[in-house]
């Protein structure tokens, strides 16, 4: 199968969907002729023009609020935030408007809206351009939260996000943009709420999100050399969450390591651990291990940043602690 980059898989999804449905447009900062700060819309302006690839002023609340209003009136907007850290300047239209309008209005409208952004450390971009803030949104009913970890997933999940009639937050990892992977030429979508077993194993379950899937797979290869057979599960969508696949795996392995790039405290690893404890308590042979980023703002200097997020080594150590 052909191999393409994560970012190109995303652009392909955008392009195919925009051809399919006239109601889709993209709105965001510097996404037009410039193609986006991370080149996530490269070439789309040339194909679809300024009416469908809309460059905005620097006004994130305005951008997301505009997308909400457009979604409420028959369009299917895709709003791009240049960095995931900028959700802080647009929380109200996401949390108090998009997530709640349908419910508050008694089901009177639908909001087919995708908010597309990136996250993650590793590029020396410091504390305001490196965060992994998606955890917050798992605590906001009415939203869906997607974290693709491969080019294949990126394309399939983005198409599903665009076709979904609910507001979807789509978080891309900056370090994945240039990673290549197999992506079929033919059309496909990936349903939400279906976890992917990225590596089958018998001894321990590693549930990992986004870029941490890559790290976990690397760790699993190392562990295999030492005779530990890890199963790596990528939930792909945090909301809806495929609890069943995770629970089933834990019932098989009896051991669970959770790896996420959000700060450990108050992030999604707690929720994932708690679910397993609630639903598979009797199958757990050891305490659940959670790995998250350190509980400090993302430091700038490479010597500090490199120990900020969970590493392959950290994952291996966590697994060994319980295997």
């Amino acid at each position: 199968m052909r191999k393409i980059r994560y970012v190109d898989a995303l652009i392909e999804a955008l392009r195919e969907e925009m051809i399919r449905d006239e109601d889709i447009f993209i709105i965001g900062e510097d996404i037009g002729p410039f193609g986006g700060a991370f080149k996530t819309t490269l070439g789309l302006y040339e194909q679809f023009g300024s009416e469908r690839i809309i460059d905005t002023p620097i006004s994130e609340s305005g951008i997301i609020g505009t997308a909400v209003g457009a979604a409420a009136t028959g369009c299917r907007p895709i709003a791009e935030l240049m960095f995931g850290d900028f959700v802080t300047v647009a929380m109200d239209p996401i949390v108090n408007q998009a997530a709640k309008m349908r419910y508050m209005f008694g089901g009177k409208l639908k909001l087919p809206l995708v908010i597309k952004t990136n996250y993650g450390s590793g590029r020396s971009a410091a504390a305001q351009h490196s965060q992994s803030l998606y955890g917050w949104f798992t605590n906001v009913p009415g939203l869906k939260v997607v974290l693709p970890s491969t080019p294949y997933d990126a394309k399939g999940l983005l198409k599903t996000a665009i076709r979904d009639d609910n507001p979807v937050l789509f978080f891309e990892h900056k370090l994945l943009y240039t990673v290549t992977g197999e992506v079929p030429e033919e059309e496909y979508t990936i349903p939400f709420g279906v976890a992917d077993i990225k590596r089958a194993g018998r001894d321990v379950t590693i549930v990992a999100t986004g870029y941490m899937v890559t790290k976990s797979l690397q760790a699993a290869e190392e562990l295999a050399k030492e005779g530990i057979d890890a199963e790596v599960i990528d939930p792909r969508t945090l909301v809806p969450l495929d609890k069943a696949t995770i629970i089933q795996s834990v019932k098989k392995t009896g051991r669970l390591v959770i790896v996420d790039e959000g700060h450990k405290t108050g992030g999604i690893t707690g929720e994932l651990a708690a679910i397993v404890v609630e639903e598979a308590f009797d199958y757990l042979d050891a305490p659940v291990q959670r790995l998250g980023s350190l509980d400090v703002p993302v430091p700038f200097s490479p010597s500090l940043e490199k120990i900020f997020a969970p590493s392959e080594k950290d994952i291996i150590a966590a697994v060994k602690k319980i295997c």
């Binding site: 609340s61 305005g62 409420a72 369009c75 239209p93 508050m104 209005f105 008694g106 609910n166």
Partner: protein, 320 residues
């Protein structure tokens, strides 16, 4: 204007509907029939009615926490409104939203809103939608003097301007944001001057004069439909009641000030004008009043008689 008898009587009636409906909501609150609160629109009827009369049925509006007037003027159903305000299953939102969250997309009502300033970018969005779909629809965006200090005001007006969107920003300057007098939160005389920052027209009109509001909005709507972009219309008005039904509204302003402003009642003023100009007789007006009274009474009875939502409905209407 004066020529169109049907229109002027309709405007009179619409204002009265809002007036009596709001009096009824206060009554309903005082009787303990309303869960939570509501923000009465009393005294500001000319704005909603003047503005919505200048719109077509399928045009859009965005509303605020003080939304009853806008909803009604845009065609909202009194029964469903009152039922919603009482948290009933038969209400606009099946009881899930309450006073601050009523919407009816089929009437172009994109929702009241509990977050001050949140409606402005949403209005930009619906206007962008109309422009993209080329369907000739205009959006009227209501918001208060207090809301004009929110960042969203600035972002929304700027975006509407650079994209020349079909939206009319209707600022209801009722002199207060909650307990805060406008002199304490804005240092300029006319909020309409803020349009200068975006390069489109801004005008100030008498918000107690329904025809003045209507004419101004009509011009702005035409401008919008022609693709010439947004207009900011400031309607100077006054909030007769406290901020919400729970607030007597007398701690931060004098009774004299309230009395003085109530004397400018947009409805009495308009009624007089109609009679003077021979567009209506006292009897006409009285008949309208009786019929509206009946309507409101029915709405309240309907709401009271309606059931509360069933517990299992709590999980419905979240995701499509």
């Amino acid at each position: 204007m004066a020529a169109n008898k049907e229109l002027v009587l309709k405007m009179y009636e619409e204002m009265l509907k809002i007036r009596l409906f709001e009096e009824a909501t206060i009554d309903v609150y005082q009787k303990g029939l309303m869960p939570g609160l509501a923000h009465p629109y009393l005294g500001e009827e000319a704005i909603a009615v003047g503005a919505c009369t200048a719109l077509e049925n399928d045009d859009f509006i965005t509303s605020t926490h003080r939304g009853h007037g806008h909803l009604m003027a845009k065609g909202g159903d009194m029964k469903k409104m009152m039922a919603e305000i009482m948290g009933k299953k038969t209400g606009y939102c099946k009881g899930k939203g309450g006073s601050m969250h009523i919407a009816d997309v089929s009437l172009g009502i994109l929702g009241a809103n509990g977050i001050v300033g949140a409606g402005l970018p949403i209005a930009v969005g619906s206007a962008l939608s109309s422009k993209r779909k080329n369907n000739n629809k205009v959006t009227a965006c209501f918001f208060g003097d207090g809301a004009s200090n929110q960042g969203t005001f600035h972002e929304a007006l700027n975006m509407a301007s650079i994209w020349k969107l079909p939206v009319v920003f209707v600022c209801e300057n009722n002199q207060y944001g909650y307990s805060t007098a406008i002199s304490k939160h804005i240092a300029i005389e006319n909020i309409s001057d803020r349009a200068i920052s975006y390069g489109f027209p801004g005008i100030t009109v008498d918000g107690n004069d329904v025809e003045e509001v209507y004419e101004a909005v009509k011009v702005a709507v035409e401008r919008a439909r022609k693709g010439e972009g947004p207009t900011l219309i400031e309607c100077k008005s006054y909030r007769w009641t406290g901020h919400s039904v729970g607030d007597p509204g007398t701690a931060y302003r004098t009774r004299e000030e309230v009395t003085e402003n109530k004397a400018k009642c947009p409805i009495i003023k308009y009624g007089k004008k109609l009679v003077e100009n021979g567009l209506a007789t006292e009897e006409n007006l009285n008949n309208i009043k009786s019929s509206v009274q009946e309507m409101v009474k029915e709405a309240v009875e309907y709401a009271i008689a309606s059931p509360l939502p069933d517990e299992n409905e709590i999980y419905q209407d979240l995701y499509v």
